[in-house]
């Protein structure tokens, strides 16, 4: 497959160099792979650090800035970063008020952040962790790796980031992050496979005329394959799967997310269907975000994430944010 790259080995470093050039408001350490908001550490503020494999852009580095993450650690494509990166990020953003690690629930991410938390604490940094696990396509049991962290990561990073920017102490930021994760569910659909630069050919075969339901964000195949469905049918299926699990009793935030290769024209059309299903099910929508935010390289497809919000979470969602990929209110 053709890719806009030099060689597979340098894709992450190349992207970071480009990010540094485009965003002087961020400190981009290309060699050590840490992206930090330039004014860090902010006195008295809890630091928010996230990270994960590359290939999900703008997640996470695109969400670094006032009102959201303090720092991000990009790993190799679809591979968790290493503890050294997270410790470096924690040290860069800690003002003495502590640091929250936002971790997507994948074995690799959990293990590396766990090791990093221990090392950072050895250096005298107070660290808390919140694991995001919102993907209803994975059955949650103690006998599996548990639910994957997907679209809800954006909600957690935005809302907990707003709380931290207001000066909330670490335990409060942690409880906000946990509340957001606990109130969020996602479901994803792939219309095409995904090609990592290292492999150069699709991770799985998805014949024309078929789609994959319940995919994650790493090209790992989903749970079920069906004949191609219309946007309306996919919305029925995905929103139903989310609501069955979430059972909201109040208004929700809706993220209608593209996997990378699906045009906004299709995503907005899909959002119309998502809103139709929510309206039919009597679920009020407080805010909607449509776009490519938690992606899987060049995969075609989409995911739906819903987060039930109370007035406080909605206020924090609406609070100003100023990052490369999300900005409003300033």
């Amino acid at each position: 497959m053709k890719m806009l790259i030099n060689v597979p080995e340098t894709v992450v470093a190349d992207a970071l160099r480009g990010m540094a050039a485009a965003h002087p408001e961020l400190t981009v350490d290309v060699e050590n792979r840490v992206v930090v908001r330039r004014d860090a550490p902010v006195a008295g503020k809890v630091g928010l650090v996230s990270g994960g494999g590359s290939g999900h852009e703008p997640l996470h580095a695109g969400f670094v800035g006032p009102g959201m993450l303090s720092a991000a650690c990009p790993g190799e494509v679809f591979t968790s970063p290493v503890p050294d990166q997270m410790v470096r990020a924690a040290a860069a953003v800690d003002s003495g008020a502590g640091v929250l690690f936002v971790v997507k629930n994948y074995t690799g991410d959990v293990l590396n952040f766990e090791m990093a938390a221990e090392l950072a604490e050895d250096e005298g940094i107070q660290v808390a962790q919140v694991v995001v696990d919102d993907d209803v396509a994975v059955s949650d049991s103690t006998f599996t790796a548990g639910r994957r962290g997907t679209g809800a990561t954006l909600f957690v990073e935005k809302i907990a980031g707003a709380a931290a920017d207001e000066g909330a102490p670490l335990d409060r930021v942690v409880s906000v992050a946990r509340q957001v994760n606990g109130s969020s569910r996602s479901f994803g659909v792939a219309l095409s496979s995904v090609t990592t630069p290292a492999k150069g050919s699709p991770t799985f075969d998805l014949p024309a005329g078929e789609l994959e339901l319940g995919i994650g964000i790493h090209g790992e195949p989903g749970r079920e394959r069906r004949s191609m469905m219309t946007s309306g049918e996919i919305a029925d299926f995905a929103v139903h799967a989310v609501l069955e699990d979430l059972r909201p009793t109040g208004p929700v935030l809706a993220l209608v997310n593209g996997m990378g290769a699906t045009p906004l024209l299709e995503l907005y059309g899909f959002n119309a269907e998502v809103q139709r299903v929510l309206s039919e099910r009597g679920v009020p929508v407080a805010r909607t975000l449509v776009g490519n935010y938690v992606t899987s390289l060049e995969m075609a497809g989409c995911s739906v994430t819903l987060c039930q919000v109370d007035e406080e979470l909605l206020r924090l969602w609406d609070a100003p944010v100023e990052t490369p990929a999300l900005r409003w209110g300033r």
Partner: protein, 204 residues
């Protein structure tokens, strides 16, 4: 007796084996994972072979501890901490002796494997690297070759298993019928150990 040089050669042999089999590991990983196991381990063990050559630690324990730390700092994903912990804890269990017996290695390796189980929360039969490592650890007290054979048999026996840990577990039933990439790379590590023993005349 096995000296630090033996352990450096083991790491170099593992790097060569991972290099040779990287595409195969990635192929297995694309069936039930995310198609990066080969390239991740290649990056890791290449760095390991280089650092143990450069720093030339004086004891077997120090070689493996350094190798493990290097993997943790280089690989990422789940395999970085898991393989890193395997080597680091095996190295720590070897202590500071300048030379160790095969029996000492067998016991230390068993401690390393136990640490992997603890970190990842997996057990035998979960379709993970432990399915190659556990039988290898058991056989290692008797013979290097037996350990390598046990690891390979364990990796091959993961084909019909249902994955319960790691990324393959998201597939549920669809993970059945594929050989686990982690168990396959673990078998390479043990095969490299047996090969090193054979070349050095340490085969028991």
């Amino acid at each position: 007796m096995l000296d630090a040089d033996f352990f450096r050669r083991w790491m170099a042999a593992t790097a060569a084996a991972v290099d040779r089999e990287a595409d195969q590991l990635t192929e297995l990983d694309s069936a039930i994972g995310d198609a990066d196991h080969g390239s991740n381990l290649q990056r890791g063990f290449t760095a390991v072979a280089a650092v143990v050559e450069k720093d030339a630690p004086a004891t077997p324990g120090a070689v493996l501890t350094l190798a493990g730390r290097q993997l943790i700092s280089t690989v990422g994903g789940a395999s970085g901490p898991l393989y890193g912990t395997l080597l680091r804890r095996t190295g720590k269990a070897l202590g500071e002796d300048a030379e160790v017996t095969q029996d000492q290695l067998a016991q230390a390796f068993a401690a390393g494997v136990a640490a992997v189980g603890q970190l990842g929360g997996a057990q035998a039969g979960d379709k993970t690297m432990l399915d190659a490592l556990l039988p290898a650890a058991e056989a290692l007290a008797l013979s290097f070759r037996g350990a390598a054979d046990a690891a390979r048999a364990g990796a091959e026996a993961t084909v019909p298993l249902l994955a319960r840990k790691g990324r393959a577990s998201y597939l549920g039933e669809r993970s059945i019928g594929h050989q686990d990439p982690g168990a396959t790379s673990a078998a390479l590590l043990v095969e490299a150990l047996a090969g090193t023993a054979q070349d050095g005349g340490a085969e028991a």
